[in-house]
Symmetry: C2
Subunit: 341 residues, 2 copies
DNA sequence: ATGAAAGCGCTAACAG
DNA sequence: CTGTTAGCGCTTTCAT
């Protein structure tokens, strides 16, 4: 049974003073005498008084709560993002209300309503894969609630964004493979209607061109999951025996590709070097350890939260938007190595 | 700029009726005429009216929010737990306020205050490693706020708990190794002052005794991180060349031990079988894939949330507590195989 | 230096 | 069938 939680009224009654005096005493209002202040504070401490944040929010029209809508929590990248957000929120005195869309459009809509209803001061959103309509997000802007998209941004809606530079990541990975002497670098890519697919592919091609290598369609296949890699890699290698490197659009694809390659009797990195994208924990577990592009989830979470809080606290006009692009890092491990040819 | 969010007052004014009528109309009160209801509902829809959850919470003295205090989000087990919690919360109409203690006692205290302040209806807690005093948790019970501990429970505080049966997990792992014909089964254990360390060790020993194997102190070493496994495994194997199986207290330790064993020129599972504990994604990535004990984070999260919501909604007296013990599963993969000796 | 009172958005008892 | 009013906990203006 939820017993009565102590309020300023209780303190006022016990001390025989008014609630306004208690309120002022608790926040060190200069008008209040030291003696009263001490009395109030001591009693508050003794009674374990905690200000009612709900009442405060209602009164001040500010909830100090940030809403987060995220596709799925159980995913190293996203959980890193959440962690970064939570750390900044904590630092700045905000609470985080977490909603998981589970990649469902319908649930995303409900999540939005929930956050609206809870009068969050701002929202951080990464769009669900199944979302193709974006009207529910407009409610936030309409109500003047600042919104920052992270990672999976929504092209149709003008807001602040925090994204990783996929193009640069693709470039770095490919440049590295070129640098260690690979000649035929394949790209296992994500669908080209996805921004990450486009970006990483673009970086791959730019690196090839920049270093005067040919961009060959036969070396680029759509393969962006562990399952697809398991199915497609062998055939691909057989059909393109000259391939000496693969840049895969994510770590799990890269790792599965490595497994297939090894099963075919070829060596990684001696015969074929492999670079992934993401730098999840798996990259350290697989054999050989995976060279990859660090996706910086924690940093993205931090930046998104910083941007949002800044917007909230500075009442920035709703029509100046900023896109923060995080630069990825190349991490070289065992799966890619200088060739002696 | 946060513009005015629409309230029932706005609707009442526009329609020239009273707020109470609007309030009632919105919740289908039988007293209200169909016509008024329709008018109200249509306008509400048109204006994108969302009830102010803060006002509601204040009024009803129920926030429909559950507070979660978790040591770290970026950890497969914990993020699975959160996911399970979120799914149930969503289903039952609760929101989740997430606090990350980052394994810090001080932060855990602040987190508790935050949740108290936000008048959460209940709390789910997994205790930080550095927490040795538990007074801050008592505030919840004192205020009559239901609390459920999950995974890392607090021995001193009487509450509901959801934990995995570590002892059973240890037993299953060891029994499996015995079953495939291993004779000298080592245990890489966690410190014995930790409950998980105790439990998994106890299960290991019970299995040995149950199948009439000797419990040998030389076969049990404290080794519960990837780093320790890297340092200690080689020496351990050299000193105990008869070991033909290792049950490690967690997956990362198991995987690192496998790596060392392989580097020593021995084969897994042919020479030494290995079983871990946790079943994180790594278990599928490593070579060979890891036999392990499924820790069921998602289920733990679900159960903890269910238990809590049940307590909240049934106003269960604060002095009947229940401990839910989840049974782990054994998952056999490549790292353990029947021996032909 | 302190108190009284209004009001944030909503519900519900009471009154018609 | 609808309106009036009090009050949830707190802050703040206006009095005193």
């Amino acid at each position: 049974m939820k017993s009565h939680q102590v309020t300023i009224k209780d303190i006022a009654k016990t001390l025989g003073i008014s609630v306004s005096t208690v309120s002022r005493a608790l926040k060190n209002h200069p008008d209040i005498s030291e003696e009263t202040k001490n009395q109030v504070k001591n009693l508050a401490l003794k009674l374990n008084y905690e200000p009612n944040a709900l009442a405060l929010s209602l009164r001040k029209n500010k909830s100090n709560t940030i809403g987060v809508i995220i596709p799925e929590i159980v995913h190293h990248f996203f959980s890193s993002v959440i962690s970064g957000m939570e750390d900044i929120a904590y630092e700045r005195g905000y609470n985080v209300m977490m909603c998981q869309s589970n990649e469902s459009y319908e649930r995303e809509i409900i999540n939005s309503q929930t956050l609206l209803s809870n009068r969050v001061d701002g929202v951080l959103v990464s769009v669900s894969k199944n979302t193709v309509q974006y009207e529910h997000f407009r409610n936030f802007s309409n109500q003047g609630i600042p919104m920052v998209f992270f990672d999976r941004v929504c092209p149709d809606i003008l807001t602040d964004r925090v994204i990783i530079n996929d193009e640069e990541g693709g470039f770095l990975a490919t440049e590295h493979l070129i640098g260690i002497g690979c000649n035929k670098i394949a790209h296992f890519s994500a669908p080209q209607h996805l921004l990450i697919g486009q970006g990483r592919m673009a970086g791959y091609q730019r690196a090839l061109r920049h270093y005067k290598y040919e961009v060959e369609p036969r070396l680029m296949i759509h393969c962006d999951t562990s399952e697809l890699a398991m199915t497609l890699t062998q055939d691909f290698i057989i059909r393109n025996p000259d391939v000496d490197a693969i840049f895969a659009v994510n770590d799990s694809t890269a790792i599965s590709a490595m497994k297939v390659i090894q099963r075919m009797g070829k060596r990684v990195p001696e015969d074929i070097s492999v670079v992934g994208f993401g730098d999840g924990p798996n990259a350290l577990i697989c054999t050989p350890t995976l060279s990859t592009i660090e996706q910086k989830g924690y940093e993205i979470g931090q930046e998104a939260m910083k941007l949002l809080v800044h917007k909230i606290e500075n009442d920035i006009s709703t029509d100046s938007f900023q896109t923060k692009v995080i630069s990825p890092n190349l991490i070289v491990r065992e799966s890619s190595r200088r060739r002696n040819s």
